[in-house]
């Protein structure tokens, strides 16, 4: 086992484009680190550079204390799980799992023992003699895991290993992989674009945008205190509601005005974003998580609530998602485009920007759901307000 250390690692293609730029990142010994970002952000490239499948253009890559820039994959002692599983179709499950050991000239008995052990852990014992073709998707995924486990490598590299599974199996394997990793304690770098995998599986999450590292933090920290608009918009599903708002002082209180709506900003929020005080009187980007909206009862004072027209209601059983219109200009910046990562959604965002209005999403407890077209009272827990600089996108911290 070993730590992985990216030191200014850059991947530059012959045409000059940089897939990964000056990446500094440590994966600690035994840590489960998730590398997440929208498609094309360079996360897979970063992983492949660790594996030695991609040349490193600049910087230093270390596995343990060894600089591995010029080492072949063979010499790096890492195991990789591919999205497509990349099983050897002509070999049985046992041979698939034992291939690396066989190449390393491990004695036959030892190979058999380790393959059996791994098969036990993964529940593959009865399939050992089968060819991959005769396995289900979940079983193939396990074989790919098994192939990594038997090697007892310095580190696991996983490249979206669950994205080819159906939703139900994915939930199950997600838990299994996380458990397995904490049991084996092998340093793991796990690439995904899936929000839930990023939030639930790892010790820490590294967010990448266009080849540039944005933030590395434990999942909750990342969720609660994103360093910029990109991380704020990318992490969380449904996404954080982000709109332009102006911070103003009104009668001794600080309020934020989102179009016609104005909400009181409690000191707790100001304490989390100290430099926001300096932005009073200016327009900033305001971020509001869907779950921090609530339907007020009579006790909530007038200046903490507003009325809005419901446009869509999604009842999910355990919760309901209510989409409502807010006449506040959305933030259309490069950060936001990257975070949304969907051309149609971008186009919708831009068209609503021209109209100076947008849709917010709120997550409510199930109860009597409002009907579309209805005007309802909505309140926000002001201490959870997030403020970002409109130009740079940085959190006002």
């Amino acid at each position: 086992m070993a730590k992985l250390e990216f030191d200014g690692v850059t991947k530059r293609y012959p045409d000059g484009t940089e897939a990964v730029r000056d990446l500094d990142l440590d994966v600690r010994d035994g840590e489960f680190l998730i590398l997440v970002g929208p498609s094309g952000c360079g996360k897979s490239t970063a992983l492949r550079m660790v594996a030695g499948l991609e040349d490193i253009s600049d910087g230093t890559m270390r596995i343990g204390d060894r600089v591995v820039n010029d080492l072949s994959p063979k010499q790096r002692d890492i195991a990789m799980v591919f999205q497509s599983y990349a099983l050897y179709p002509h070999m049985s499950v046992a041979d698939n799992m034992g291939f690396a050991l066989k190449l390393a000239k491990v004695p036959k008995d030892e190979i058999r023992r380790r393959v059996r052990e791994a098969a036990d852990i993964l529940g593959l014992t009865e399939y050992l003699e089968r060819k991959p073709k005769a396995l289900s998707g979940g079983q193939r995924q396990r074989v790919a895991m098994g192939r990594a486990i038997v090697r007892e490598p310095a580190a696991f590299l996983m490249d979206e290993p669950l994205s080819n599974l159906d939703a139900k199996l994915r939930v199950q394997m997600r838990a299994e992989i996380a458990q397995l990793q904490s049991r084996l304690g092998v340093t793991t770098l796990y690439v995904t674009h899936d929000q839930i995998e990023a939030m639930t599986m790892g010790d820490r999450v590294a967010v990448l945008k266009r080849g540039v590292l944005q933030q590395v933090a434990p999942p909750q920290e990342l969720y609660d205190n994103p360093v910029n608009l990109f991380v704020a918009g990318f992490i969380g599903s449904p996404a954080m509601n982000i709109a332009q708002g102006s911070l103003e002082r009104d009668d001794g209180r600080i309020v934020v005005r989102l179009g016609p709506v104005s909400l009181e900003v409690p000191d707790a929020a100001m304490d989390r974003y100290p430099t926001a005080r300096g932005a009073i009187g200016r327009t900033v980007a305001v971020g509001m998580r869907p779950e921090h909206f609530f339907r007020p009862d009579g006790a909530v004072p007038e200046h903490q609530r507003f009325r809005a027209r419901v446009s869509l209601v999604e009842a999910l059983g355990s919760e309901i998602l209510v989409h409502f219109d807010v006449d506040a200009a959305p933030v259309v910046s490069q950060d936001m485009r990257e975070a949304v990562d969907n051309d149609d959604a971008i186009a919708a965002l831009e068209s609503s920007a021209r109209r100076g209005t947008q849709q917010f999403t709120a997550r409510f407890d199930p109860g009597t759901p409002p009907r579309p077209g209805e005007d309802i009272d909505i309140a926000f827990r002001g201490e959870y307000l997030n403020f970002f600089d409109l130009e740079s996108g940085h959190a006002l911290r």
Partner: protein
């Protein structure tokens, strides 16, 4: 509804129309018409196949049971003759050599080219070049390789290449073909010359050679000296071309206008057979083996100066003709194998190869343990297709093998042609040979067809 289908029970069971029964409504045409339509559509193809495939096969089988003219039924006599004739047996033996070597060499080369062409920069140009011979007819390639395999290095590419290499290791002499003039010198077994007479230091030797074309005498050669200066401790003499241009002159004597032969090494050999000293002849042919004492010594001209240049390998002679023709075949078909195997390579998922690399496989191990096993089905198809091709090989042998070695290079298809349409015009025996060829190809065909069906 049910009554109408019961009314024609015999036709209702006809294969293609059967599924229609489940959904058959009153307006549907009845099965009898369907069957007619089916036959109608199949008829042209059936007629064509019958006329150009089935009929010739049946006719050939029948014809093989008759004699040369086709008048008398002779039973299996043609087959008996076929399997006892040394020519057929030689042809069969050659066919075995072909089937064993040609397809495997072509497949191996195709595999190497396919793998390489994935990694080289100008891969398209490379592929086109290798594939190009496929566009040339067998006959034309036969002619091309007839030229390649010409006997002399001046005309044949293969021999030119061999002589280029051979000359490096075995430099040809300056005066190949030289012969002694008179009795002073006799040829030695190693290709040099030696004197019968012996010499003492202070003596002079006249070592005349003939049969050297004027063109081989170097430009810097001068008129030979008749009497080179003598010395007490040296054997001196002249090596010269003992031939007076325009006639005249005396054999064994240095006549005016006769040329010296520079660059010949002269060794003085003592009575015990050891070389005491040596010298090289100058521009005027004079030499002086110096530092001598005692004696007597015989003089020897070393063979280096008289070595024949590389004369060329007789590729199309009896010994090498089949390998040579197989080479031509390989040249033609390597491109085919490369393209088919290349397509197979492209269908191997890249991630599987990467997984193997991460698992610790070297490039060779990836090739050997992953690429080749995954390509095995493709390799097999290429191999079997080539086997069918090779069994039927005819035109290359006909064009490439000179008449004198055609018996040695014979293959079944060629034998069939020679027997049927050559001097004997024995189409009975020819038909028997054709049937033999057909039976040989059949298993390979069956294998391929089975594979294609399995793939569907």
């Amino acid at each position: 509804m049910a009554e109408t289908s019961v009314g024609r029970p015999a036709v209702a069971t006809a294969g293609p129309a059967a599924p229609a029964e489940a959904t058959a409504g009153p307006r549907r045409p009845r099965f009898g018409r369907d069957a007619l339509v089916t036959v109608g559509f199949l008829l042209p193809a059936l007629l064509l196949l019958g006329a150009v495939v089935v009929y010739p096969i049946v006719f050939t089988v029948v014809r093989s049971l008759y004699d040369a003219n086709g008048d008398t039924f002779v039973g299996l006599a043609n087959y008996q003759e076929m399997f006892t004739s040394p020519r057929t047996l030689q042809a069969l033996q050659n066919n075995v050599i072909w089937v064993v070597f040609a397809p495997s060499i072509v497949t191996a080369l195709g595999l190497i080219f396919a793998v390489l062409s994935e990694r080289v920069r100008w891969s398209t140009a490379f592929k086109v070049t290798v594939f190009m011979p496929m566009a040339i007819s067998f006959l034309a390639s036969g002619v091309i390789f007839r030229l390649v395999f010409e006997d002399t290095p001046e005309r044949g590419l293969a021999n030119a290449a061999v002589s280029l290499v051979s000359d490096v290791f075995r430099e040809p002499g300056r005066y190949p073909g030289a012969q002694p003039s008179g009795d002073a010198l006799t040829a030695t077994p190693d290709g040099g010359f030696a004197t019968e007479a012996t010499f003492q230091p202070g003596d002079t030797a006249a070592l005349g050679l003939v049969r050297i074309p004027a063109a081989l005498v170097p430009d810097d050669a001068q008129e030979a000296v008749a009497a080179p200066p003598t010395a007490a401790d040296a054997i001196t003499g002249t090596v010269w071309l003992d031939f007076t241009r325009g006639g005249g002159g005396q054999a064994g004597a240095v006549d005016p206008s006769e040329q010296g032969l520079p660059g010949v090494t002269v060794e003085a050999v003592g009575p015990d057979g050891t070389v005491a000293a040596s010298a090289t002849s100058g521009a005027d042919g004079a030499f002086a083996v110096e530092g001598m004492s005692g004696g007597p010594y015989a003089l020897r001209l070393t063979p280096g100066a008289f070595r024949e240049p590389f004369g060329g390998v007789t590729w199309l002679g009896p010994a090498l003709v089949t390998p040579a023709i197989i080479t031509a075949f390989v040249w033609m078909w390597a491109g085919f194998a490369m393209v088919v195997i290349g397509a197979g390579l492209a269908s191997i998922p890249r991630e599987v190869l990467e997984a193997a690399r991460v698992d610790g496989a070297s490039e060779w191990q990836v090739f050997r343990r992953i690429t080749v096993p995954l390509l095995a089905p493709v390799l097999l198809v290429v191999l079997v297709t080539l086997m069918i091709n090779v069994l039927k090989i005819f035109d290359l042998v006909l064009v490439l093998a000179p008449g004198s070695v055609q018996d040695t290079a014979n293959v079944v298809a060629l034998e069939m042609y020679r027997v049927s349409f050559g001097g004997a015009r024995d189409q009975g025996l020819g038909s028997a040979l054709a049937i033999l060829l057909f039976l040989l190809v059949l298993p390979a065909m069956a294998f391929n067809i089975k594979r294609f069906l399995a793939e569907q």
